[in-house]
């Protein structure tokens, strides 16, 4: 009796595991297929269909740098630099070391900021911490987390090793290594936490539709003194008010209100 029950349970468990494995694999195959289809559309210059496919893959939860990167390319060919830049930023967060992403981002950004004479005379904001955290593009968040674990483990091992080492020279060496590892881990934790902090409290967005900076929400457009925001400019959202967002330019100290539907949050 018990033997039968155990046998049935085993069969059930195996069936469950196989079902789960295959269902996940099937979804992965679907997403890969959709992505590949998108690439085919892109190659045949059907950029809108390619875009739809990439977005579908993202909807399925495949938040991969390649998908964001190709989606950005599709948007740039569709003449939407704003959305292209936003997606390139997303791709860069996942693959900060990628030369292609950096190149495309630079190319599109140069185009956006070209002829922005108004901005040339404005001094950049002295936001050192933010700049340090945001300019760290060696590792993505995942890799930073792994590096933190690695350095912290090294520090812990050194700390323990010192307890058992009698040689003075070796103790000093181990101590220096441990302290260095601790400092590196501290810096990485600072960057890791800082990036969350700034993404959360100072979210960046990309202008997806040319608009004007207004002095207050609901102010009429076509004010001659107001500042024009070009599509693709990166701004920082500082506050929100019912369909309106207060933004500050990433370079320069201009700030003002824009409609929420004229921008797209990067993260």
């Amino acid at each position: 009796m018990m033997g039968n029950l155990r046998k049935s349970l085993l069969i059930f468990m195996r069936a469950l595991v196989i079902t789960l494995l295959f269902s996940g694999a099937a979804q992965a195959r679907d997403a890969q297929h959709i992505f590949d289809e998108g690439n085919k559309f892109f190659m045949t210059k059907r950029y809108d269909k390619a875009r739809a496919n990439y977005e579908k893959a993202l909807c399925m939860g495949y938040k991969d740098a390649s998908v964001y990167y190709n989606l950005a390319s599709a948007y740039s060919f569709l003449g939407k630099p704003g959305k292209a830049i936003a997606n390139l930023h997303r791709a860069q967060k996942l693959e900060p070391w990628s030369k292609d992403i950096r190149k495309n981002l630079k190319t599109l950004t140069v185009l956006v900021y070209k002829d922005m004479r108004g901005l040339q005379n404005i001094q950049p904001k002295p936001a050192l911490l933010k700049s340090v955290v945001r300019s760290f593009n060696l590792l993505n968040k995942d890799e930073t987390a792994i590096a933190i674990v690695a350095f912290y483990s090294l520090f812990f091992v050194c700390l323990l090793a010192r307890k058992f080492i009698s040689s003075r020279f070796v103790r000093i060496t181990v101590g220096v290594t441990g302290v260095s590892a601790c400092i590196v881990a501290m810096l990485l934790i600072f960057i890791f936490t800082g990036s969350f902090y700034f993404d959360h409290f100072y979210p960046q967005a990309v202008i997806t539709r040319a608009t004007q900076l207004r002095t207050a929400p609901g102010e009429p457009q076509n004010d001659e003194n107001s500042f024009n925001l070009k599509e693709g400019m990166v701004v920082e959202i500082t506050s929100a008010d019912d369909g309106w967002r207060k933004v500050a330019l990433e370079i320069g100290d201009k700030s003002g209100w824009v409609k929420a539907d004229t921008l797209e949050r990067i993260f």
Binding site: N39, Y62, N70, S73, N104, L160, I189, F192, T193, F267
Partner: protein, 624 residues
């Protein structure tokens, strides 16, 4: 190492705090919205409260407690629906959980739905309560000139639903009288017969305004409720499933003009929907039901007949290939708005508005096509619908605002836009066009023209797309429990090691002070206990405590057991024992402090004590 450890301790604590903050910040976005489709309802009206929760990580979302609509006073829960959808907002995939509660107001006053509680990423979210105002059922008399077609069932006040086609057929004359009285024009005579001559108190019917519409053509679906007598409470209407249609709810008409039907006067109340068929073919709309309580307090359930609709396929479009069929069906027109007073400059955007208006599925109107595409670039900025719902149709307009840029300077013909729709009255495709104009485009700045050229060329210099890569779906490591566990383990283990090192270091450095501290602490505790015994007149316990205290003190301080202590043994200790200046000093002070001789069983006189102290001082001097 000690100094380093001392420095590291606060740093490690800060680490631990940072690691506490990080997962909180790593919480994905959650957007919660609650809305009621009506803020003001009448008794008997149904309304829907929808909870919509959008999250980026659906696995970590759960509904902990839903607002208990069954317990709300003056409201009755009709149905509950749950739905999950996924879509992209700003490039980020969101999953939306929709909880839809259909509620019927049964009592005038205010209905207040309680809070729902959701958990997401271990955080708990509470929704704010939703309030809906309920007014008493008002009877607004409104005479309408409407076509009555039948598809009826009748329920007698016994609650039984019966169909009597034979009886219906007997009274055609009476029917004509009624129609005359009502000022209505019968269209479907056969169906009308079914309800004629019935003598029930309640009856329902469902009617489709057009039984053979084209795909996309609006059909008004009416559910009519006839009642001869006043019902009690509010009737509960359950609409059918409109599969194969895009559905919009139209205004309800209630307490309509009294009509003489089925041999008596009835009041009609109507629930109206407009249906836009999505595919061609035969479609049957299932029966709708209505629950109504009669004056005897009995609940009657009335069912309408199924409604058959034959959706016709649109004829093949053989018009202009450049302007394809928009998919709209109805009666539409298009208008263009252009601010001609404003100077148009090459490569500088100006705004053009296109408005498509008329009767039909207004929200479903697609973008019109611009005819001049060689000399202008068009970017859609805004598309806004303005819908006017009447009892039997939807009309309104959809406005498209474009940012248009001229590619060259000069007098350029601007042909405007066109829109092809299927006109159901003419039964043909109609191409609606805006007026053409010639625009005087001033030469733009060279830099702007260059920029535009650069923009068109920019795509060519972009790095190629990634082909053949394996895209992956995985939870980021830093968001997993493994990472949190490893980090917490490392941080707390490091804290432990550093703390132990610091403690040991401290103990080594302050060994003497610690011993003294411990001895004094023990002594003070012992004295306190001894005094307590003395206070309670427990003399024996007091002496035992004092002896124990003394023994402990000497054992810890000098490593000597003084079970049977005496003056001799003390003298021996002072003279022979550790003649250390510090120790003797401490001994003197402690003897003074404890004043132990006073409580000791050893009989010591004051003189002896003085001698003893003198001896100690002498020894001290010798040492100096």
């Amino acid at each position: 190492m000690r100094k380093t450890g001392r420095l590291l301790l606060p740093v490690l604590v800060a680490f631990a705090l940072l690691l506490d903050i990080a997962p909180v910040l790593a919480v994905d976005d959650i957007v919660i919205s609650i809305n009621s489709d009506k803020k003001l309802v009448y008794v008997g009206d149904e309304f829907t409260i929808t909870y919509s929760i959008s999250v980026t990580n659906p696995k970590k979302f759960s509904l902990k407690k839903s607002a208990d609509f069954n317990k709300i006073k003056g409201a009755e829960l009709i149905s509950t629906r749950e739905k999950t959808t996924s879509y992209l907002i700003g490039g980020i995939p969101y999953t939306t959980f929709i909880y839809r509660y259909t509620i019927r107001a049964s009592k005038a006053g205010a209905i207040k739905a309680g809070r729902s509680v959701f958990t997401y990423e271990s955080a708990t979210y509470k929704t704010s309560p939703v309030a809906v105002r309920v007014l008493p059922a008002a009877v607004s008399i409104k005479k309408r000139d409407k076509v009555v077609r039948s598809n009826a069932k009748e329920a007698k006040n016994t609650g039984k639903v019966e169909k009597k086609p034979a009886e219906v057929a007997k009274e055609p004359a009476k029917k004509r009288d009624i129609e005359k009285n009502m000022g209505r024009r019968p269209k479907k005579q056969g169906r009308m017969k079914e309800i004629m001559g019935l003598a029930g108190s309640f009856a329902v019917e469902s009617v489709a305004s057009n039984p053979s519409p084209y795909v996309g053509e609006g059909v008004v679906y009416q559910f009519r409720f006839y009642h001869k007598i006043e019902y009690v409470g509010a009737p509960a209407f359950s609409p059918p499933q409109f599969t194969g249609f895009y559905v919009e709810e139209l205004p309800q008409s209630r307490g309509l003009v009294e009509v003489e039907r089925f041999g008596g006067e009835f009041i009609i109340e109507e629930v109206n929907y407009i249906l836009f068929p999505l595919v061609a073919g035969n479609v049957t709309i299932p029966p709708a039901s209505l629950e109504v309580r009669d004056s005897a307090g009995k609940m009657n359930t009335l069912w309408s007949d199924p409604t058959d609709i034959v959706v016709r396929k649109l004829p093949e479009y053989k018009g202009n290939v450049a302007i394809p069929f928009s998919g709209s069906v109805g009666e539409l027109s298009i208008a263009l708005e252009l601010d001609t007073n404003k100077m148009i400059v090459e490569a500088e955007p100006f705004q053009v508005s296109l408005t498509v208006k008329g009767v039909g599925n207004i929200t479903g109107i697609s973008e019109p096509r611009f005819i001049s595409t060689d000399d202008f670039d068009y970017t859609l900025i805004e598309a806004k619908s303005s819908v006017d719902k009447e009892i039997d149709r939807i009309s309104g307009e959809k406005r498209f605002v474009y940012s248009v840029t001229a590619r060259r300077a000069g007098d350029i013909p601007f042909d405007g836009a066109a829109y092809v729709y299927f006109d159901t009255q003419k039964v043909e495709y109609v191409e609606a066009r805006t007026k053409a104009a010639v625009l005087n485009v001033k030469p733009g700045k060279n830099e702007a023209a260059k920029e535009r050229a650069a923009a068109s060329a920019i795509s060519a210099i972009l790095a190629p797309i990634r082909a053949g890569v394996i895209i992956s779906k995985r939870t980021p490591f830093y968001k997993t429990h493994y990472y949190t566990f490893i980090m917490l383990f490392l941080v707390f283990s490091s804290l432990l090691v550093v703390s132990v090192s610091l403690k040991r270091g401290y103990e080594e450095r302050n060994k003497d002070a610690l011993v003294k501290k411990r001895a004094v602490k023990t002594a003070l505790t012992g004295i306190r206990d001894a005094r307590a015994h003395l206070h309670n007149q427990k003399i024996e316990d007091f002496y035992i405590q004092m002896r124990y205290l003394l023994n402990q003190f000497f054992k810890e301080k000098f490593g000597i057991e003084l079970i049977a202590h005496s003056l001799d043994s003390l003298a021996e200790l002072i003279n022979v024992g550790k003649k250390d200046k510090k120790v003797i000093k401490e001994l003197i002070s402690n003897i003074k402090l404890l004043n132990y001789f006073r409580y000791s069983t050893v009989e010591v006189t004051e003189d002896e004590l003085k001698d003893y102290l003198t001896e100690l001082r002498r020894t001290l001097k010798e040492l100096k």
